[in-house]
Amino acid sequence: MTRFVENSIVFPYKRSLGPVIGAFMTGLTEQRILGIRSGDQVIVPPLEWDPQTGAELDPDGMVEVGPAGTVESWTWVPAPSEQHPLGHPFAFAFIRLDGASTPLLHAVDTGAPDALRVGARVAPRWRGSRVGHIGDIIAFVPGEQPEVDGPDSGPAEAPVTMMDYNASITYRNPVPPVLDRLREASRDQRIIGQRCPVCERVYSGGRGYCPIDAVELGEEQDVDLPHTGTITNFTIVTPVQYPGQTETEPFARVFVLLDGTDVILPYQPVVELPVGEVRVGKRVAAAWAPPNDDIDDAGAMGGAYGHLIGWIPSGEPDVEDPDLVNRIF
């Protein structure tokens, strides 16, 4: 049975809005919806250029539309996603606001789909506290009259120039069987590699195929690798405190060429090797966690080597080879 692992990636984007979208977002905090003139058209939501011709549009040509409008097309969302604006069933609709030439996509909150039809009249339900975001309109609701949800905290004190966008996607990936074999062997303090049957190169790192010959490598190609190697290259990372970064002090990541293999192990952690003593040519040996420890995915190779937690100085003399530093693959 193939094992699957889940991991979530957060995408925290911060975007500048520019003169036109910024004015639109500022307008939302004032409970006003703005479009932009392009000839005799009023484009909503507004852009800095005409979407058909690419002609630059004049930010001074922004005009208020709505607040009410007419549904031009709609669909019903019976099971909203975590990214949708409402947590209960709702409609998405193209709404042509009064005075606009193009429709705005937004949610319509009617409770049930039978209250919707093409031609229905709707008006915005504003969030009480508005920040200059398309979500300042919670949804549109049937009728001509806008509503405000909760106490009204008023417009933004300064023009809105930036916007945050946060999404999180959970990915579910199969774990290549070779990685599970590597992990299991690490309990017995063994390092498994694979030998390509075509070119006979020995690969560390559990890739599962030979990229030179483009052939898959199975269990029959597994070989035991030595526990000693040489640092070929390294970097000292001064951690930036981005989301998910747990390190606070500068730390080393080294590239290790195991003896008798043809590819390096990249981005390895070191043990009992101060940052100032990391150098190309330094000889290292595998450092193991106690056999009974529970190993999470924080070890060497993102946990692929399980109980192999990093590389410790072996005490052997340095390797003097000017080409060694070039080994980054």
């Binding site: 996603s81 999404a167 996607i169 579910r172 195929y209 483009a214 898959e216």
Partner: protein, 357 residues
């Protein structure tokens, strides 16, 4: 009048392969590509050493890894180093780039791929991140929503109705029965389909594509080399793609001018096609595309079952070109393949394949 976009060098599809199309594969994207590239090359007696140029189509957001195409390069045997390119588009656009590259005349063989494991994430959460970041992405505007809004616009305009859409689904499933690679196939009763619940009104389950993991690889060769590699190469005699603006709110959703212009530029109007493979992931899209391309009842549309039978995102369009090439390999004269990208058929590609260069 749009100038017809024909090649300066004779270039043909000489072979292609696809992985089994499944809801969830145990294989990584790189493994899918390793196998499918080998499967495309072997029947032609070629190896990776014979490839002069590769272009891979895939999507980092679907894979969940920045520069995910870098590990896909392990599938092409890039040693000694090869000429390679990548498009963050369906493999049909990778094919377009390879077709352009072969026109330089200095190389003979190119391999293109399209690959995606849609099961890796939830497509309805990934897709909004690729939309307009100010007005659409923050609403979680997902592919089913956009498709449903376009379907209603077409129904409202009298261009189609829910029964006609169900008939497209039933025909696709019926045709897919003879396609061993199809994921959704079988006999379906129209009234039974229409009794189903809406997933996104007016779309029901049968109006939607399946979620599919899969990859395709295609081999292109120039003139004489193509004729040596196989009988009846499928010569690409016209190839064009056009885009419209992004936000569907700014477009007339009852038309697809980019498809019409691309087809004209690819030379569709110069003589009839016998078959057409359209990347219509939703039933109403096939109805709109047939209308825009002016395909009459004599043209066999999506005999493979189409994207409604299997929809490996990033490879669906390339597979359309593969099925159209199969028509020529098998004795046909002229076939059309179509691919699309973006919400509500934003960008459209048309490829014409013929028995004669």
């Amino acid at each position: 009048m749009v100038a017809t976009n024909g090649p300066r060098t004779d270039i043909a599809v000489v072979g292609w392969a696809q992985t089994p199309m499944v809801r969830r594969t145990d294989l990584s994207e790189t493994q899918l590509l390793l196998r499918v590239i080998t499967a495309a090359l072997e029947p032609l007696g070629l190896t990776r050493a014979d490839i002069d140029f590769t272009c891979l189509g895939s999507c980092d957001y679907i894979t969940g890894q920045a520069f995910s195409f870098v590990s896909n390069l392990d599938a092409i045997g890039a040693w000694p180093p090869k000429r390679d390119s990548h498009v963050e588009m369906d493999g049909a656009w990778a094919l377009y780039e390879a077709w352009l590259r072969l026109q330089e005349g200095d190389i003979e063989i190119a391999v293109v791929t399209g690959s995606g494991r849609s099961s890796t994430g939830d497509p309805t959460l990934i897709y909004p991140m690729e939309m307009d970041p100010f007005y659409l992405a923050p609403l979680g505007a997902d592919p089913l929503t956009f498709a449903a809004l376009q379907a209603r616009a077409l129904i409202q305009a009298g261009i189609t109705d829910e029964r006609a859409m169900a008939e497209v689904a039933a025909r696709s499933r019926r045709d897919a029965r003879s396609n061993p690679d199809a994921q959704v196939k079988g006999d379906a009763d129209i009234d039974t389909l229409l009794a189903g619940e809406y997933v996104r009104a007016p779309l029901r389950r049968h109006d939607l594509p399946p979620i599919t993991d899969g990859a395709a690889a295609m081999v292109l060769a120039t003139g004489d080399r193509a004729r040596k590699l196989r009988e009846r190469p499928a010569f690409i005699t016209g190839f064009d793609h056009r885009t419209e603006c992004h936000n569907p709110g700014y477009r007339d959703l009852t038309d697809s001018p980019s498809t019409r212009i691309a087809a004209e530029a690819a030379g569709l109007g110069t003589s009839p096609v016998e078959v057409a493979e359209l990347q219509a992931a939703f039933t109403h899209e096939e109805i709109l595309l047939r209308r825009v391309l002016d395909l009459g009842g004599e043209v066999a549309v999506n005999r493979s079952g189409g994207a409604l039978a299997s929809n490996p995102i990033m490879a669906t369009g390339l597979a359309r070109i593969g099925y159209a090439a199969n028509h020529v390999f098998g004795g046909g004269k002229r076939a059309l393949a179509h691919s699309t990208s973006g919400p509500c058929l934003q960008q459209n590609l048309v490829c014409i394949l013929e028995e004669d260069a």
